[in-house]
């Protein structure tokens, strides 16, 4: 793989009993990518993300972050190497405020979260960075109320904020706009679109309008294997994709 490959997998497979959920997938995500991973339900998209983060161990294959083999490393080590994710279903801290949650994510990133003898209030840099990030994601007005009281759309933004707080080089977004009305999902993707170019983004998304608008490259996964990959216009024209996934409909 080339040196500007942010994340690459080769021949990655995972079996659950008799089912092969991800089947010999080879994929390279270059630095600065805006890659959409699409495919029908049960195609193995979320399983693939779980393999990348280390939540699941592959049956075979290899995963590299920035050229470094991380296949045997755990989630923590991969996070330290710059891999970060969001969840399809909100995986937040309901009782913490967004401000506390982002401070916590930053503290874990900087290895400050083991410090028990100093008050959090004394960590000026952490607090300032958290405020900046919350401002950037338009969460600053809600930053001091408990997360469970937040509107659903704001909770989806907080999902991304927590992932961004670890300053990732590779960001994996698992249906960032899941459950959000079409009009509001643009707000979520506007945030993704505004990310700096040195962050590589892989996102799973079902809304094809969003996919074709925000992805620079699309990978189609069906039954655990890559059916096709290419630029959005190539994928739109691809006969196999139309037949297997887009159902021949106009997109």
């Amino acid at each position: 793989m080339t040196s500007d490959s942010a994340l690459s997998v080769s021949d990655l497979s995972i079996r659950f009993g008799g089912v092969v959920a991800v089947d010999h997938v080879t994929l390279d995500i270059p630095t600065g990518a805006r890659l959409a991973l699409i495919g029908p339900n049960g195609a193995g998209k979320t399983t693939f993300v779980n393999l990348l983060t280390g939540a699941l161990r592959p049956s075979s294959g290899e995963i590299k972050i920035g050229g470094k083999d991380v296949t045997s490393l755990d989630t923590r080590a991969r996070t330290k190497l710059g891999l970060s994710r969001t969840f399809q279903i909100n995986t937040l801290f309901p009782k913490l405020t967004p401000f506390e949650a982002v401070c916590l994510a930053i503290a874990e990133r900087d290895d400050l979260a083991g410090i028990w003898w100093r008050r959090l209030a004394g960590f000026r840099e952490v607090r300032d960075e958290a405020e900046d990030l919350l401002r950037q994601l338009k969460l600053i007005e809600q930053s001091r109320i408990p997360t469970y009281e937040l509107a659903y759309g704001k909770q989806r933004l907080l999902e991304i904020a927590l992932a961004l707080a670890s300053k990732p080089r590779v960001l994996l977004l698992d249906e960032p706009a899941a459950g959000i009305p079409a009009g509001e999902s643009r707000e979520i993707f506007a945030v993704v679109d505004a990310l700096p170019d040195d962050i590589s983004v892989l996102f799973i998304e079902h809304d094809m309008q969003l996919v074709f608008r925000f992805a620079k490259r699309i990978v189609v996964l069906t039954a655990g294997t890559i059916l096709a990959q290419g630029r959005p216009d190539e994928i739109k024209r691809d006969e196999h994709v139309r037949a297997a996934y887009l159902g021949g409909a106009h997109v």
Binding site: F93, A101, L104, A107, E108, G114, W116, R118, L120
Partner: protein, 319 residues
């Protein structure tokens, strides 16, 4: 429902009033200093359990292990010639902290029911050791003839319990401030995060197991000091220090006050101990029945104990 708003400053004022009021009891109830000292010790013990249960989410019915170790350890030390009280406390703290850290490897990774089983088993083993090692522990007669030296060699532990109360009050307050600081630190936030959503903490790269083991060790250390305080103020340790009864009582006190709230243990201890004292006076034969009835009432009225109930009326503004 409109909730009463409390700023962080007002909350601090409440905390200070609590401790001032407790200190004032020294003057107001000079005849009840023994009970007040017991309340402080039970409150500290319950607060130690809260670190493990309320904050780290570790189910335990064996916290008396550390209470008993602190009590017996410092008691045996005093019997063998070192009855200086203040220096015994860091020993109890560190000793129980180390034992707690060792046990945490068994307990933190286990599933909840397994945690209960392991903690009950450990406390039963220690109780039996204390029962059998008669030469060292006095067996079922308990550790008798302990002599605690005067504090700074000036203030002896008097029969009315004045020295005992002031000494216990200061130590408990000091440890409370330490625990309070810990809960306000980045580490305290990480503990809340683990309790709130372990999956996300793992995704953030948090070493969740290590964080929980440390919490269990601190919890054990503080429990050890509370045991040592009981031994020093009563100059006696019995087998009940290691009993499952004591583990269950501290759990009841914590649940009554409200787990995961720093002051839950202390409030629970105040209510439980005073109630027990009153009921034992009013109805010496049936006080356990009334206590049971009261506890059932509290649980039925609302989850989260006394402080949990109050927190639904109050909203604390976060800085």
């Amino acid at each position: 429902m409109n909730r009463i708003r409390l700023s962080a400053r007002q909350l601090l004022a409440l905390e200070i009033s609590f401790w001032v009021a407790f200190a004032a009891c020294y003057v107001i109830f000079p005849d009840r200093l023994y009970l007040l000292t017991q309340i402080l010790i039970a409150g500290l013990f319950a607060a130690s359990l809260d670190i493990a249960l309320g904050y780290a989410g570790i189910l335990t019915l064996g916290h008396a292990v550390f209470f008993g170790l602190g009590a017996y350890g410092t008691g045996i030390l005093a019997k063998s010639g070192w009855g200086e009280p203040i220096s015994a406390l860091p020993l109890a703290f560190i000793g129980c902290g180390i034992v707690g850290y060792g046990l945490s490897f068994l307990i933190v990774r286990a599933a909840e029911l397994t945690q209960l089983m392991v903690t009950i088993a450990v406390v039963a083993i220690f109780e039996e050791i204390a029962n059998q090692a008669t030469g060292i522990t006095g067996g079922s007669d308990g550790l008798q003839g302990i002599l605690i030296w005067p504090i700074f060699n000036v203030f002896p532990f008097d029969l009315r319990g004045r020295t005992g109360f002031i000494y216990t009050y200061l130590i408990v307050l000091g440890l409370f401030l330490l625990v309070r600081r810990m809960l306000q630190s980045p580490y305290g936030l990480a503990l809340q995060g683990i309790h709130d959503n372990r999956k996300r903490m793992q995704a953030l790269g948090s070493p969740v197991g290590g964080r929980l083991r440390f919490a269990y060790a601190v919890s054990a250390a503080v429990a050890g000091v509370s045991g040592a305080l009981l031994m020093q103020t009563t100059e006696f340790v019995g087998l009940d220090a290691f009993s499952i009864d004591r583990s269950a009582m501290v759990l009841i006190i914590l649940v009554l006050g409200g787990a995961g709230r720093l002051y839950g243990g202390m409030v629970g201890a105040v209510v439980y101990m005073i109630l027990r004292d009153l009921l034992a006076d009013l109805s010496p034969e049936y006080w356990m029945f009334w206590i049971g009835l009261f506890l059932m009432f509290i649980v039925m009225v609302g989850s989260g104990g006394i402080l949990g109930g109050l927190s639904r009326l109050v909203r604390v503004e976060k800085p």
